[in-house]
């Protein structure tokens, strides 16, 4: 599976035409304990850069932007019930939603692991 990143500290796992989105370990550390997650509605159609989800920690609220355009085909309700999953397993059990990409070529504009590591250093 191809994993890409955004400068807004989201990860995007690409599998065929489907992109799974979550927040990076760096993001969860910066936010601190997550206490609230709002997910997009299943079936909603988002263009790249639109607000797809909201996560809030004890410190602050943070918008999760759609890193690619497409429709929401799956969400992870476990994160709503237990926002701490984003802290304990941000790139696993803490995934947020899946997008069926309408413009898969947008992937090319996402960061690879090295580029993402550079913006955090």
């Amino acid at each position: 599976m191809d994993i890409r990143y955004t400068a807004e500290h989201e990860w995007v796992a690409i599998e065929g035409n489907q992109a799974t989105i979550g927040i990076t370990d760096h993001a969860q550390r910066a936010l601190g304990d997550l206490v609230f997650v709002q997910l997009p509605n299943l079936g909603s159609v988002l263009t790249r850069g639109a607000i797809a989800a909201v996560v809030e920690s004890v410190k602050a609220a943070s918008d999760i932007l759609a890193p690619v355009s497409g429709s929401i085909v799956a969400v992870n309700p476990a994160t709503v019930a237990e926002p701490a999953l984003l802290n304990s397993d941000p790139m696993g059990a803490g995934w947020l939603f899946k997008i069926d990409m309408s413009q898969p070529e947008q992937i090319q504009q996402l960061l690879d692991a090295d580029s993402y590591a550079r913006i955090n250093s």
């Binding site: 601190g32 304990d33 206490v35 609230f36 709002q38 909201v54 809030e56 004890v58 410190k59 602050a60 609220a61």
Partner: protein, 382 residues
């Protein structure tokens, strides 16, 4: 010692800075000091630890001030201080502490503070960001009667939580016989300390003032108790919000009056109309009038439905349209109450518990219910 702060201004390190760094604290500039925001346990964990056990906060950024009457009569200092606060200080007995407010000429709040009668002096703890204003005000208004001494090179620790008393009693046996808002000077390992049974968390606990150069071994002995863990300013904020306590700069400003802030309980009958010493402090006409007739707006607790609302969010009567009727002054997710909580100002007609309002969170109207406070039951040792 100075470090380069986030804003690029010189930020002072706390006397116990090295201890915080060694404990893994994440430090950030606050009111000109580099303060521990949280430790590896995290804000949620530190908050819950405080409610369950005993947490140690370094609040040395707070201003500590001693006032003595030059006459040698503490009564003279009490009467001089009463020129600045709507609070009865003549009845504040030796060994007792009381919440107070410095008011402005228009009835606003210049600062909120704690005042303790230590027998031979008054001991004041004021907000870090207000030390300069408070001091200038005191110098102008009471230096004819009082010597004003800012206590520098001192550490102020808050030990808070249900197990705070047992942890402190190991070092200071007298602590267990103190009640809520008792205050006293004590010899602590040969150092002159001030201990009050008070705090800012809604829990039982103590605040302990020590000479900076004597504090480290003392802190080490406290932390040697397995129930005691460091907690930072992040947890302090969520704890005080759950306890329904005001934070200066948020719920209290020069533009909010004590009556608007629902702090009538802090203004004793002796200083009200018909009392022994009514008025006689800045803004007394406004405040006395509001005490008898009420104010137009009021600080209330808010319970947002579904998601937290933050400071600055406007409050509306309707789910769409209309003009703002108030605003949120503090808001977070409450780790102990397990729900979003907030405080804000609304017109008195909308201040009734249960009133449904809406907070604008970036274009989305979040329902919020006006709620009683505190959000968690206080556990003071009265």
């Amino acid at each position: 010692m100075a470090a380069e702060g986030i804003a690029g201004v010189n930020t002072l390190e706390l006397p116990l800075h090295a201890l915080h760094v060694a404990a893994g604290a994440q430090m950030a500039a606050f009111a000109g000091r580099l303060m521990p925001i949280h430790y590896p346990l995290g804000i949620l964990g530190e908050h819950r630890h405080t409610r369950a056990s005993a947490a140690l906060f370094d609040v040395s950024h707070m201003g500590q001030i001693r006032l003595r009457a030059r006459s040698g009569e503490l009564r003279d200092a009490a009467l001089a201080l009463e020129r600045l606060v709507p609070v009865d200080l003549l009845s504040l007995r030796p060994g007792r502490q009381r919440y107070a407010l410095l008011t402005t000429a228009s009835g606003g709040v210049l600062d909120d503070l704690m005042i303790a009668n230590l027998g031979d002096c008054f001991y004041l703890v004021v907000n870090a960001a207000r030390i300069a204003q408070d001091l200038a005000h005191l110098e102008r208004q009471v230096s004819d009667v009082c010597d004003i001494e800012v206590l520098t090179d001192r550490v102020l620790l808050a030990l808070q939580g249900p197990q705070a008393v047992d942890a402190l009693a190991e070092l200071l046996p007298q602590a267990s016989s103190m009640r809520f808002l008792d205050a006293g000077s004590f010899e602590l390992d040969g150092a002159q300390g001030v201990v009050t049974r008070s705090g800012y968390t809604g829990e039982d606990g103590f605040e302990i003032s020590l000479p900076a150069d004597r504090a480290a071994p003392w802190v080490a002995r406290l932390l040697a108790n397995s129930t005691v863990q460091w907690a930072g300013l992040g947890a302090r904020d969520s704890l005080r919000l759950e306890a329904g306590l005001c934070l200066y700069g948020h719920e209290l400003t020069c533009d909010t009056t004590p009556v608007e802030a629902a702090l009538e309980w802090a203004m004793q009958p002796a200083r009200r109309s018909g009392g022994a010493r009514p008025g006689g402090y800045p803004g007394d006409e406004v405040i006395l009038s509001q005490l008898s007739r009420g104010a137009a707006r009021r600080r209330v607790g808010l319970r947002p439905v579904g998601r937290p609302v933050r400071e600055g969010a406007c409050l509306f009567e309707a789910a769409a349209g209309g003009e703002p009727v108030g605003h949120v002054t503090s808001g977070t997710f409450a780790p102990s109450a397990q729900c979003p909580i907030a405080m804000g100002y609304v017109p008195v007609a909308l201040a009734t518990v249960g009133t449904l309002l809406y907070a604008d969170v970036r274009g989305q109207r979040i329902p919020v219910h006006v709620s009683g406070m505190p959000f968690v039951p206080p556990r003071y040792h009265r």
